[in-house]
């Protein structure tokens, strides 16, 4: 049973890290909003799904690639990839702002109960998913292969593929940039101030609405980037893919300690690895069960997740 794991340990690990980085970016979407609003952004999975369509639209409708055309080369390859990534991030970022505007803003201004906001978010996520289902006629949409999956090198018997390498490096880079933005920029400081104490931040002159919209935007950008990497790895999308990925990413955020950016990072990576190892050892069908059992065990001993702070301590 474990021989699979030992034989293919390194290739599994690399696949796990690549998947993990996709989760890291999506869980940023959850964790950012949670940090500021103390609210699960249920629509984040659909924001991710819309993000994947950003990439498909760019490569298919703007650069006119089809399933059968040759993968791009050289400068054009870079251009297509970068513009797909930017498009995905833009689509997802704008969707996130739209969600905030439609589902959250009014309820937040009224200061009503959290469940109403939760249901409102669920409503908008059903609507977003349905719009995409109607637009795509419930069919899966294949993405043209832009990036040839060349095997770069072999380390300890594991094939290192170009798309995995790009996914890992670029995702890590995007995460790093966003993390620096939260840590160092003026806006990032304001976001952290609001997440510490909303009222005090308001009294200090922080523009609450702008901070919250920015938070949604940043979360949406990260989630959209994840959509791009998802397409490069899996090469197809469908109106309902958001659910599984969103669920996993949300679990990752909780595992790491929701509301905490470092938590999203380690939570996402450990979830990616855990999923890949669990599928290898127990079979794909038990992947989700293993993940949830691990989550329950972690929460039993660390009720705030791996990196969550104790209640009422300040957050960085």
């Amino acid at each position: 049973m474990f021989s699979v794991l030992i034989d293919q340990f390194w290739s599994l690990t690399i696949a796990g890290i690549a998947l993990g980085f996709i989760y890291v970016l999506i869980s940023l979407g959850y964790t950012m909003v949670y940090g500021v609003l103390r609210m699960i952004n249920f629509a984040n999975s659909e924001i991710f799904m819309w993000g994947t369509f950003g990439t498909v639209i760019t490569s298919r409708d703007i650069f006119h690639y089809t399933q059968t055309s040759e993968p791009a080369k050289g400068a054009k390859l870079v251009l297509v990839l970068v513009s797909s990534l930017v498009m995905s991030m833009l689509v997802a970022g704008l969707t996130a702002i739209f969600v905030e505007f439609v589902a959250y803003r009014r309820l937040r201004m009224k200061g009503t109960n959290r469940l109403a906001t939760l249901i409102s978010a669920i409503g908008i996520s059903i609507a977003l998913q349905e719009i995409m289902r109607l637009l795509t006629h419930s069919r899966p949409v294949g993405a043209p292969r832009i990036l040839e999956k060349i095997i770069l090198t072999e380390i300890w018997g594991a094939n290192i593929r170009l798309d995995t390498v790009i996914t890992i490096i670029a995702a890590a880079l995007i995460f790093f940039v966003l993390e620096r933005f939260i840590k160092l920029s003026r806006m990032g400081k304001a976001i952290r101030a609001v997440s510490m104490n909303e009222d005090a931040a308001k009294l200090m002159g922080v523009n609450l609405n702008r901070v919250i919209t920015t938070t949604f935007l940043v979360g949406g950008l990260a989630t959209g980037a994840a959509g791009f990497f998802y397409i490069t790895v899996f090469e197809y999308t469908k109106f309902n893919i958001g659910f599984t990925m969103g669920m996993a990413a949300f679990t990752a955020a909780v595992l790491g300690g929701i509301g905490n950016i470092r938590g999203a990072f380690f939570g996402g990576l450990s979830l990616g690895l855990l999923e890949v190892y669990a599928s290898a050892v127990l079979g794909t069908q038990w992947k989700a069960v293993t993940v949830f059992i691990v989550l329950v065990l972690v929460l039993l001993f660390k009720p705030n997740g791996l990196f969550g702070e104790a209640v009422q301590t300040t957050r960085a």
């Binding site: 949670y34 103390r38 699960i40 439609v102 589902a103 009014r106 309820l107 009224k110 200061g111 009503t112 109960n113 469940l115 109403a116 906001t117 939760l118 249901i119 409102s120 669920i122 409503g123 908008i124 996520s125 059903i126 609507a127 977003l128 998913q129 349905e130 719009i131 109607l134 104490n197 909303e198 009222d199 005090a200 659910f243 669920m247 949300f250 679990t251 909780v254 929701i258 069908q285 038990w286 989700a288 069960v289 993940v291 949830f292 059992i293 989550l295 329950v296 929460l299 039993l300 009720p303 705030n304 997740g305 209640v311 009422q312």
Partner: protein
């Protein structure tokens, strides 16, 4: 001001009820029950559903949704715990019915206690380790539990995996009332009886010790604990009672549907039932009933716009929540939890 009062259905209803004396109350209650009981005969009116059979719609989704929403309301509305895995108990009830109904000679009414017992057992088993968690952490754990139950059923051989279990026996006839596939009036009446029993249970519990404990826990758990309320015990009680109602609904659903498969027990059901609770008016039994009726009935009523009906459903959720954040029929003001502003615990 006057128009506002006119639209305040909760106060209007409560006013009529409180001013009535005992005989009058009995008349109101009995006539309301009879009216509801006559609902399956109204199939030819504007209530008719275009594609699905009207009396079947009344049983599932409407009736079962109301029942489950009432059960979930004990957990979410009364004691304020966010449960996103309620479908698990529904599934446990349904699978108990399916397995025992096909493997043993027991009939639906004999299986019912088993279904309820197994769901309650699952409630305790899940509740003991996890109810120490709060808020969103509890939400994700219950959500995980719901998914685990579905995935275990999907991937096991005893449950026939994704193929599901067919040939589940119908309930035996009760005297002259016969259970039939093409005419589901009797099923509806059974659901109504179960709903009435649940309402009675909730109302009795609400004014007694558990109800007060739940109220205290919902408003401020720390304060409740400090005042000597054994919070974990009452949280598990509320969880388990909610599970029991879900299990009962599951048994009836399995017996009504004759066939069940794991795909019927996805997270969407949990979310839908939670929507029913919040949409109708969280914590208020009548609001929950109204919410579940509307949300169960609406998608079937608007089937003529077939493709966009879920889109409409989602939009309705957003719009209603934005304009009536406490639901269509909210609970009384004094019962609302004190909102602590600026304190994020």
């Amino acid at each position: 001001m006057k128009i506002r009062n006119y639209w305040n259905l909760r106060d209007w209803g409560a006013g009529v009820w409180e001013q009535a004396d005992r005989p009058k109350r009995i008349v109101i209650a009995v006539s309301a029950i009879i009216l509801v009981g006559l609902l399956p005969f109204a199939g030819a009116s504007f209530l008719a559903t275009p594609i699905a059979a009207y009396d079947a719609v009344l049983v599932y989704p409407v009736g079962i949704f109301v029942l489950m929403a009432l059960g979930l309301n004990i957990v979410v509305g009364k004691s304020g715990m966010l449960d996103l895995g309620y479908v698990a108990f529904f599934a446990i009830g349904a699978y108990t019915m399916a397995l025992m109904g096909t493997l043993t000679g027991l009939n639906t009414w004999e299986i019912m206690p088993f279904g309820i017992a197994f769901s309650m057992l699952a409630g305790v088993l899940l509740g003991l380790p996890t109810l120490r968690l709060r808020g969103d952490y509890l939400a994700i754990v219950t959500l995980g539990f719901g998914e685990i139950v579905r995935l275990v059923v999907l991937n096991s051989t005893w449950s026939k995996g994704p193929n599901g279990i067919a040939n589940i026996p119908m309930p035996p006839d009760i005297g002259p009332l016969k259970f039939k596939l093409d005419d589901q009036k009797v099923f509806f009446w059974v659901v109504v009886v179960m709903i009435l029993l649940t309402i009675w249970m909730i109302r009795r519990l609400s004014v007694r010790r558990p109800g007060r404990a739940w109220e205290a826990i919902r408003q401020d758990e720390d304060a409740a604990e400090l005042m000597g309320v054994p919070t974990l015990k009452y949280k598990i009680w509320s969880f388990t009672l909610g599970a029991a109602v879900g299990g009962a609904a599951g048994v009836l659903y399995g017996s009504k549907n004759l066939f069940i498969a794991p795909e019927m027990f996805t997270l969407n059901v949990s979310i839908l039932i939670l929507s029913c609770v919040v949409f109708g008016g969280i914590g208020n039994i009548w609001g929950v009933i109204v919410g579940a009726t509307i949300l169960g009935y609406l998608p079937d009523r608007i089937r003529f716009i077939s493709d966009a009906r879920l889109l409409v459903f989602g939009t309705v959720l957003v719009v209603v929540m934005n304009f009536r954040p406490d639901g269509l029929l909210p609970r009384k003001k004094r019962e609302k939890a004190i909102v602590k502003k600026g304190v994020h615990a």
